[in-house]
Amino acid sequence: MTVAGMGYGQPGRRGLPQGAGRAAAVLVTGAMMLSGCISVNAPDKPIVIELNINIKQEVIYRLADDASKTIESHGDIF
């Protein structure tokens, strides 16, 4: 169970006393302070933002025949 799921902000819904969530938050904050610092390293490789991620393979396969004909019939712009 995550900290967010422990009922903090949803008093009574999960049967936990309201103080439990707050205590957990204090514990987490304490743990973070004990570990000293949080280091964030930049990745070695450049970040490629994939804008076409939502295009499904099945759609591409469905369109391939028609797209092929379109390319053939517009030889001047392709």
């Binding site: 490629v48 804008l51 076409n52 295009i55 499904k56 393979q57 759609v59 591409i60 396969y61 469905r62 369109l63 391939a64 028609d66 797209a67 092929s68 379109t70 390319i71 053939e72 019939s73 517009h74 030889g75 001047d76 712009i77 392709f78």
Partner: protein
């Protein structure tokens, strides 16, 4: 009787000739020589998204050619996508897959990692979703 048969054959031949002419017509639309030259010189590359891109710094005339062709491509993609009940991006991306396959050795294309590659003798690097 004989005349009418010949007449019919003549009509059929004429119709066949018309059909052939209709089929051959789109093939007459060829690339502009300047566009062909810029592709061969590696100044213009085929991108994954179905459009053309400038590879490195290119003369203003080449940049303008790229923009013009991309506008025309977008118009064609938009119309065809609508007919196929697909989005513009889906149709353009599908075309990009095919266009990268159709590049000739020496021409530039965009690999899935976004880098420009020179087409060699083998198959180009394409998105795994490409047909």
């Amino acid at each position: 009787m004989q005349t009418s048969r010949f007449h019919r054959i003549g009509l059929a031949a004429g119709a066949a000739a018309l059909m052939l002419a209709g089929l051959a017509a789109p093939a007459f639309a060829q690339r502009d020589p300047a566009y062909e030259a810029a592709r061969a010189a590696g100044q213009i590359g085929e991108k994954m998204d179905g459009y053309l891109g400038a590879v490195g710094g290119v003369p203003a005339a080449v940049q303008k050619m790229i923009s013009d062709l991309n506008i025309k491509r977008k118009a064609v993609y938009a119309q065809k996508a609508q007919e196929q009940h697909a989005t513009l991006e889906e149709y353009a991306f599908t075309s990009g897959c095919l266009l990268i396959s159709q590049t000739r050795p020496g021409e530039k294309y965009q690999a899935p990692d976004g880098s420009w590659q020179t087409r060699g003798g083998g198959a180009p690097q394409r998105d795994p979703r490409c047909p």
